[in-house]
Symmetry: C2
Subunit: 336 residues, 2 copies
C-alpha cells in the first residue's frame, strides 16, 4: 500500500507540497504538480478521502452521540448504527457525552467539527428548545434518538416509554397480583419519570393500592437492582410481584430475593423492560418487554444518510412500541 | 451561546470571512479583521478548537479503534477510555472496524484523517509486521491494545491469554475433576487458539485425558454457549466439569444444562473467563477469571495522551494477568 511518504520520495518534494497538490490549496508550480500526479499514478496512491473532503466541508461520516457506551442497550444502538453506516459506505464516528447538558453540547460540537454529514443525538439533558437552538446554529442535520419531539426543525425517533411500562405492569395485574413493588430507573431522567408514572397509573386503573414505601430507586445496573430489592425486603414490604424498570435491575433483584430464601416465581413474580439477551438465559428466565431498538436505530441511520446526502426531508417523528415476552419469572398469583 | 452566524451578523461579513479570521488563512482586510474580532469579543464567541487545530494538524483527540461495540468487554474498554480521555481534557473518537485486515486498515485511516493525536488500536487481523508498516506510514503514534508485541516501533498492552485460561482450567483440575469439556472462542482468533491450547496443556499437566469430541466451538455469545453445550450433551459426552472460554458462553451453557435436567454445580461444575458483572448475579453465581481491563485500558490511554502531546517514549510492552474468582458454579468432584 503506497503512502504519502512514497509519493514524496518518488516526486522528490516535501509532504506539504504533495498535500497542496491533493487538496488543490496554495500555489504549486505546474511542473511540480505534474511530477506529483505522475508519482501518485505510478504508485497507485489513493489520497485520503477526507483530506479532499475537508475542502468541500464533508467527511462522508455519520456522527453518533451517546450518553455512554456501557450497557446492552447502547451496545445494540452502536451495533445497528455501525451496520447501517457500513451498508451505505459511510463512516460512523462515535462520541460520548458527559452526563450534563453542557457535556452534550460539547460532544455535539466535537462531531460538528469533524464535519459529519448528519448527526444522530441521544440526548438526556438538552430540552427540545435547546436542541432546536443548536440545530439553528449548525448546518449539519440533527436527528434526535429516543425522544419524541413535535419540532418542525428536528427529526426524532423515540420509544413510547409509557406503553412499555404499562405493558410490564399490566402483565402482573392480569396475573392477579395485588401487591406490586417497583424498582425505578433514576428519577431525574425523563424515562425514569414516565415509567414510574405508568406504574402508578396502571395500579390505579386496576384498583390496586399504591404505597410509596413499595418503591426503591435504582441506577439501571445489576448491582443497584440487587441493593434496591434488599432494601424493600429489609423494610418488611410484602409483595407478590416486582416491576423493575429494566432487565439488569430485575436480574439483580432476583438474585437478592434468592439470597433471602425467596423463590422467583413461586414467592415473587418479577418482570423487567428491555428483553436483553441475558433475559432468555437467566435461571429463571426473565419476563420482559421487548424493544424495537434495531428498527428504531435502522430507521434513524437511514434518515441520517438520506439527509446527510443533502436530500431534504420534512422533519419526521416516529414512535415505537414494545411487546410482552412472558417467561418463567412471572406466574399467576397464588396465596401462600 | 453565540455562534458563528451571530458573529457574521454583527460584523456584517460572510461566514467564509469569519472563518478566515479565526483560522488565520487567506487574505482579510485589516479593518474587516478588526470588526470580526470585536464582534467575537462582544458576543463572547469561542471559535471551535478544531477549526483552529486543523491549521496545526492536531485535534486534541485520542482515537480508539475497536472490532465491534457489542460486548461487555468492549463496553468496559470504551468506558475506561472515555473516562481517561475526559480527565485529560481530550476528546475520544471511536470507530469500529469490519472483521478483516482491510477493514482494520480502513478504520485506522478514518482516525488518521480525523487528525487524532494518538490512536489506540484493538486489532484482530493485522499482523505485527502489518502494524509496523502502518506505523511507518503514519506520523500519529499507534498503541496496540490486547496484543503482546515485541516491536521497537509500536507500544503494546495485552492480556496474558495463556495465564487466563490456565487459571480457569487448573481450578477445575484442582477440584478433582477428570472429565473436563471445553467450549472454545472462535478458533480463527489468536485468543481462541491460545485459550484452547492452554486447556489441552493443562489437562496434560494433570495427566488427564483429552478427547476432541469433548470440545465444541462457540462465538463468545450466550446463544452459542447454549448451543455448544446442547451439542456436547446430545453427543453423549459425560463430563463433570466444563471450561467455557468466556462468561457469556458459560452462562448460556449453564442454562442448556438446566434445560436438560442437569444441576450446576451438583452434576457439572462450570467456569468462564471475564468476570463480567452478570457472573456475580447469575443463579448459580459463576466462577470466572477476572481481567484487569480497567487497568490495561487506563495505562494505554495514559500513554496515548503522553505520546499524543509529542512527548516521546521508548516503545513499551505491558503484559497483564488475571485472577481466579471462585463462586457457586464450581465445586469439588463427587462421584454421582
Amino acid at each position: 500500500m503506497a503512502n504519502i511518504k512514497d509519493v514524496c520520495k518518488l516526486a522528490g518534494v516535501s509532504k506539504a507540497t504533495v498535500s497542496r497538490v491533493i487538496n488543490q490549496t496554495g500555489q504549486v508550480k505546474e511542473s511540480t504538480r505534474n511530477s506529483v500526479l505522475a508519482a501518485m499514478e505510478e504508485l497507485g496512491y489513493q489520497p485520503n478521502t477526507l483530506a479532499q473532503a475537508l475542502a468541500t466541508n464533508t467527511s462522508n461520516a455519520i456522527g453518533l452521540l451517546l450518553p455512554n457506551f456501557r450497557s446492552n442497550y447502547f451496545g445494540s444502538v452502536l451495533h445497528c448504527a455501525e451496520l447501517g453506516a457500513q451498508q451505505a459506505q459511510k463512516k460512523l464516528l462515535v462520541v460520548n457525552s458527559k452526563n450534563s447538558a453542557d457535556g452534550e453540547r460539547e460532544a455535539l460540537d466535537t462531531l460538528v467539527n469533524q464535519r459529519c454529514d448528519a448527526i444522530i443525538v441521544y440526548s438526556r439533558h438538552l430540552t427540545q428548545q435547546a436542541l432546536v437552538t443548536l440545530q439553528e446554529c449548525y448546518e449539519v442535520p440533527l436527528i434526535i434518538l429516543n425522544r419524541l419531539l413535535d419540532s418542525e426543525q428536528l427529526h426524532s425517533f423515540g420509544l413510547d416509554q409509557q406503553q412499555l411500562a404499562d405493558t410490564a405492569v399490566e402483565h402482573l395485574c392480569q396475573l392477579g397480583h395485588q401487591r406490586i413493588a417497583c424498582i425505578t430507573s433514576p428519577m431525574e431522567s425523563e424515562t425514569g419519570q414516565i415509567r414510574f408514572q405508568s406504574y402508578q397509573k396502571t395500579l390505579e386503573k386496576y384498583g390496586l393500592p399504591y404505597q410509596p414505601h413499595w418503591v426503591a430507586e435504582g441506577e439501571n445496573t445489576l448491582e443497584t437492582g440487587y441493593e434496591a430489592a434488599k432494601q424493600l425486603i429489609a423494610a418488611g414490604v410484602e409483595f407478590s410481584a416486582l416491576f423493575a424498570c429494566n432487565d439488569d435491575m430485575a436480574i439483580g433483584a432476583i438474585r437478592a430475593l434468592h439470597d433471602h430464601g425467596l423463590n422467583v416465581p413461586k414467592d415473587v413474580s418479577v418482570i423487567g423492560i428491555d428483553n436483553e439477551p441475558a433475559a432468555a438465559y437467566a435461571i429463571p428466565s426473565l419476563s420482559s418487554v421487548s424493544l424495537p431498538i434495531e428498527q428504531l436505530t435502522d430507521d434513524a441511520v437511514r434518515l441520517a444518510i438520506h439527509v446527510g446526502n443533502k436530500c431534504s426531508s420534512e422533519p419526521v417523528h416516529y414512535r415505537y412500541v414494545g411487546s410482552l415476552v412472558a417467561r418463567e419469572s412471572t406466574q399467576p398469583y397464588r396465596e401462600s
